[in-house]
């Protein structure tokens, strides 16, 4: 009953001992750190194991070893049927082209929905929202048949072209919401200065939408980089494989003897995600908090 603390701003009411809030904060931190430890320990263990010689990978819970080596990284890099130089190159290519595609198609579509009037606008927007909730599996089979007919199996087109055609409705929605909140006065004054719609789009709306553009680029990066089902369906030539596919092939072919190499390559495959996350975590977390994306 004496614990009177407001919600976001703890205020000390008469009768609340200062010590109480201090103890509370300590307990809070202790709990959070415990959960974090459990959560992050597997990642740290993965990192440690990737630097241990193969005969030590399965020995011990600890992170450290006296025999740290980068041998796993050297062996793992060349372990697949093509080398990981190739796989990382493939993943990078697919990811960059997908990001550009999403930025292109989603920003154009979003501008139209947020700023222009056209017939069937509400109906089309409802369809857009509908496709956001649609499970991807319903288009999986027919898209495969389509791409197969087009002769696109073992090319990167099935993994990249859909992004240029705005299939990720989530990002369109995100940008529509963002552009709607931009002041229209800027458009008007640009128009008086002789700007057309493309001018307004390029010179006014896009520069102001950088946060939404950044969020879209980051999430596209993470989804595409991690994507497994797409490459699994469309890429079966080993020199075309992306990193997740190569890792899975590695896992299938590997006995316990080369787990260290598998872990080394796993670490490298996660490193870009962690790196970009560190650079842009504020953007990502704000993005997810406002739109509810995964």
């Amino acid at each position: 009953m004496t614990s009177v603390k407001t919600h976001t701003i703890p205020r000390i009411y008469p009768g609340t001992p200062v010590k109480n809030t201090f103890v509370r904060a300590i307990i809070r931190h202790a709990l959070l750190i415990c959960v974090l430890f459990v959560l992050l320990y597997p990642l740290l263990w993965l990192l440690g194991a990737s630097f241990r010689p193969n005969n030590e990978v399965f020995n011990g819970l600890g992170l450290f070893s006296e025999n740290y080596t980068i041998q796993n990284y050297i062996d793992g890099w060349g372990a697949g049927s093509a080398s990981f130089t190739r796989y990382f190159g493939n993943s990078l290519l697919v990811t960059v082209v997908s990001i550009l595609g999403n930025l292109f198609s989603c920003s154009l579509t979003a501008y139209a929905f947020a700023r222009l009037n056209f017939p069937f606008k509400n109906a089309l927007f409802a369809i857009l929202i509908g496709t956001m909730l649609l499970p991807m599996h319903v288009t999986l089979v027919p898209q495969y048949i389509l791409f197969n007919k087009l002769g696109w199996i073992n090319t990167y087109f099935p993994l990249t072209i859909p992004h240029w055609l705005g299939v990720d409705a989530f990002f369109i929605f995100l940008m529509v919401q963002f552009i709607r909140n931009l002041p229209r006065e800027l458009d008007e004054s640009a128009r008086l200065d002789g700007c057309g719609h493309f001018g307004i789009f390029l010179r006014i709306v896009m520069p102001l939408s950088l946060p939404a553009i950044g969020t879209t680029a980051m999430f596209t990066f993470i989804w595409t980089w991690n994507d497994f089902l797409g490459p699994l369906l469309y890429l079966n030539r080993s020199d075309m494989q992306t990193v997740p596919l190569a890792l899975n092939a590695f896992l299938d072919s590997t006995g316990q003897s080369s787990y260290g190499e598998l872990f080394a390559m796993s670490v490298l495959s996660l490193a870009p995600i962690v790196g970009f996350f560190i650079v842009s975590q504020r953007l990502l977390i704000e993005g997810i908090a406002t739109t509810g994306m995964k």
Partner: protein, 318 residues
């Protein structure tokens, strides 16, 4: 004011008219411009979403193996599914168990951590970032491979248990526990759900808590009578999203079971079975039927969920 408008000079009238004509012209062009802007998305919508959906609806009534042309079989695919395909029922059961255990766990843990973080706490942004990090990796092959080791025969978990003198076999290799390891993996990636809860908690006005505290409501009362009701829109959103995502989980089950859904079909997710039917056995008609059944189930679930929301979701304006 009105005097002024009545006595406006001819020049102003002229310019107003001119701008009206310009506006009409602008409007006309606007529609054309809009469809230029919309073109990529419209092409994708028709060519990659709506068209394929209709085609797969057609395929679901056919027998099609990609090599010969589709053969119309009526409802045969659905009849087979419900009456004679044991693995279909196994995959349905596995998915439902996964959803029933995974979704509430994710929601409860997310809400608890969000509540802990929702205070004037030091290092808030650091905590947020670290809790969020796993959710970026949860669907990756690397983490699934790691999971296979952690829950393997001589993996991390069993090494910890052996310190306490407990000997256990492989968790991934045991049909009774394999699905559990996938639930744990989904739970591990709870960060994104948690961030949305945290954003929701921050929206609740502090005055409500102050008023309740003045009235003598304790911590638990305040949580039950203020936090939970105010948070129901966010709970609704998160529950819907987490459930829809759980129904579609694929990569972890594929990687951990080596694509088989084993051991003994214990990780045969619905999506994994769909993949096997469609792309390993080339039963594309059957796979399409399964996909449409999933769409129907998710649509009914979402519909019921939206309908139920009027009874338990609190929107401030009511």
């Amino acid at each position: 004011m009105s005097v002024h408008t009545q006595t406006s000079s001819p020049e102003t009238i002229q310019s107003v008219l001119g701008s009206k004509a310009r506006k009409r012209d602008w409007r006309k062009r606007e529609v054309a411009v809009a469809f230029v802007f919309l073109a990529p998305w419209l092409i994708g919508l028709i060519g990659l979403t709506l068209g394929p959906m209709l085609y797969s609806l057609y395929l679901s009534f056919t027998d099609y193996n990609l090599l010969s042309s589709p053969k119309w079989v009526g409802l045969q695919n659905f009849v087979t599914m419900f009456t004679s395909d044991e693995r279909f029922w196994v995959s349905t059961r596995v998915t439902i168990v996964y959803v029933i255990f995974g979704v509430p766990l994710i929601l409860i843990v997310s809400l608890m951590i969000a509540a802990l973080l929702n205070s004037k706490i030091a290092f808030l942004s650091g905590y947020r970032a670290l809790f969020y990090l796993p959710s970026l990796m949860g669907a990756s092959v690397a983490i699934a491979a790691l999971w296979r080791q952690i829950f393997g025969g001589n993996g991390l978990i069993n090494q910890i248990l052996s310190y306490f003198g407990i000997e256990a076999g492989s968790w991934v290799g045991n049909p009774d526990t394999a699905l559990g390891t996938l639930v744990v993996l989904a739970l591990w990636a709870f960060g994104s759900t948690m961030i949305i809860f945290l954003a929701g908690l921050r929206q609740i006005p502090a005055e409500l808590y102050e008023a309740a505290a003045v009235d003598g409501a304790g911590r638990v009362r305040r949580f039950l009578n203020i936090t939970l009701p105010m948070l129901t829109p966010i709970i609704f959103f998160n529950a819907l999203m987490v459930t829809i995502n759980a129904f579609q989980a694929f990569t972890p089950a594929y990687v951990i079971s080596g694509g088989t859904g084993g051991p003994v079909n214990s990780t045969l997710f619905y999506t994994l079975y769909l993949y096997q039917q469609g792309f390993a056995q080339l039963n594309m008609g059957y796979a399409s039927a399964m996909a449409w059944l999933l769409v129907a189930v998710l649509a009914i679930f979402s519909g019921l969920f939206f309908w139920s929301s009027r009874y338990w979701v609190y929107y401030g304006d009511k």
